[in-house]
Amino acid sequence: MESTDKVTVRVGLPYHLRNLARVPGDAVVEVAPPVTLGSVLDALEARHPVLRGTIREYETGQRRAFLRYFACGEDWSLASPDRPLPEAVAAGSEPLLILGAIAGGD
């Protein structure tokens, strides 16, 4: 039987979102298993409401175009939100990384 105890997950945020959420390093959120991309982002937005709409679009929940998700060195940007994240992320030893695209400009 799957545990329902919440686990602690770390989320690495881009610089501007760390400032917005006022977290000095990784954001830390409590997530009830299964630990999926969607459940972590839900928990992140619940813990830091100022981030709502900055990572996922308000209405569609779609990832914003210039952001990418990485976990354990793999690109999760196109993964289903229901797919369980790697065990190392669920165990808190590796963060889910949210990265801003290197998009040049000024």
Partner: protein, 393 residues
């Protein structure tokens, strides 16, 4: 002692420039929201400590920020206490701008013209302009891209579209200008709370007389030669509209080309470009105490967005248009190739009217004598997107 607070939105953050009534010695605070585009910030006429800000980013989208202490501290409306998120569904969604759908079909209300002439759905991009109510600090309007008007009545915590504007029927003829299809001007009539004027690039000017439920285009007299029908009801690239609060039926417009005037609340327009060296430009404003005194900054052309001859000059008309005089004292006389964007000029209401404008080169110039002479307040900010002024008692 009275003073002024100049609110400057830039490409990389916001700045607040403060001075006493002499307007000679300035204090510069900022950057606030460093690294983000601040399209516009404006204080509530009903409560000068209340300031609304549009903070935006291509990566992270749109945020609304608010200060309740004159810019000393900021928060997203309804989300002030970051340390203690409330359980349950959020009550405040200050950054949520969702267009209304058709009540009859549930489908998008309308479409607009795309660059290739096909129809395109509305897609929210950012807030260009925030306009606080003249009487209620908690009521504020937002002009957005793609063009629409939103209103909040709870201090910016939640926003609802005034969709009668998009839904009145001309939407399919609106089209984006070079800067996008934006609603950039919102004028609230001090004498009639039901009357609002707005302007859109590139659709034109519109007016409601019932508080935002119903709208009509007010573009008769505008001539735009880039359009298949230069005198069409909509499609004009209006850059900015200004009025004097004592005469809200008299409007002044800087169009893509042409400076225009209406004496009947926008029902009819006539050109007042007169002897301007070029009638292309973006900003236009009105003296705080002289309703017939106007200011524009002529820009060479739609293809060359800088002052003619590299000389930065404000032009002033004391006759409500047609007769213009250059104001150059204190402004660059050579090698100046900046632009002054549509929301980047403002006036204060001190006895000797102050005039302010910001440039794409990062300078903010001030005149404490109604434009006779100018001096820079700051010279090396990021590209200035907007300038507003609060006159403080």
């Amino acid at each position: 002692m009275s003073g002024v607070r100049v609110l400057v939105g830039t490409h990389k953050g916001a700045f607040i420039l403060s001075a006493d009534g002499k307007r000679k010695d300035w204090k510069v605070d900022g950057p606030f929201f460093a690294g983000w585009e601040v399209y516009h910030m404006k204080g509530s006429p009903a409560d000068p400590n209340r300031i609304y800000v549009s903070q935006t980013s291509g990566w992270f989208g749109q945020l609304i920020q608010r200060s309740d202490d004159g810019g000393k501290s900021w928060h997203q409306p309804g989300l002030a206490d970051e340390a203690l998120p409330q359980p349950g569904p959020p009550k405040a969604l200050p950054n949520r701008f969702v267009y209304d759908a058709s009540a009859a079909t549930g489908k998008p209300l309308t479409t607009h013209q795309w660059y290739d002439g096909t129809q395109h759905p509305w897609e929210f991009k950012r807030v260009w302009h925030v306009e606080p109510s003249l009487t209620d600090p908690d009521t504020v309007y937002a002009g957005v891209e793609d063009a629409a008007l939103f209103r909040s009545t709870d201090g910016g915590e939640n926003w609802q579209e005034l969709s009668g504007l998009r839904g009145h029927g001309t939407g399919p003829e609106w089209q984006p200008g070079a800067g996008g299809m934006c609603l950039h001007t919102i004028l609230l009539d001090p004498s009639n709370p039901q009357r609002i004027y707005i302007a859109i690039s590139a659709a034109g000017a519109f007016r409601t007389d019932d508080g935002g439920a119903n709208w009509k285009p007010i573009n008769k007299g505008l001539v735009s030669n880039f359009m298949p029908n230069p005198t069409a009801e909509v499609g004009h690239c209006v850059h900015h509209v200004a009025m004097h609060r004592s005469r809200p039926r008299v409007l002044f417009m800087q169009k893509h080309w042409d400076v225009m005037r209406s004496d009947d609340a926008g029902d009819n327009w006539r050109e007042v470009s007169g002897n301007l060296p070029t009638d292309f430009g973006f900003v236009i404003d009105v003296h705080a105490h002289e309703p017939e005194t106007l200011y524009v900054v002529p820009i060479k052309s739609d293809g060359e967005h800088f002052p003619p001859g590299g000389k930065l000059r404000v032009y002033r008309s004391r006759t409500g248009g047609n007769e213009w005089e250059p104001l150059a004292r204190g402004l660059p006389e050579k090698d100046c190739y900046v632009n002054v964007l549509r929301d980047a000029m403002a006036v204060d209401s001190l006895d000797q009217c102050g005039v302010y404008f910001g440039t794409t080169g990062g300078q903010v110039y001030a005149s404490a004598d109604a434009g006779d002479s100018w001096a820079p307040i700051v010279q090396n900010l990021p590209k200035v997107l907007s300038v507003e002024v609060q006159t403080l008692d």
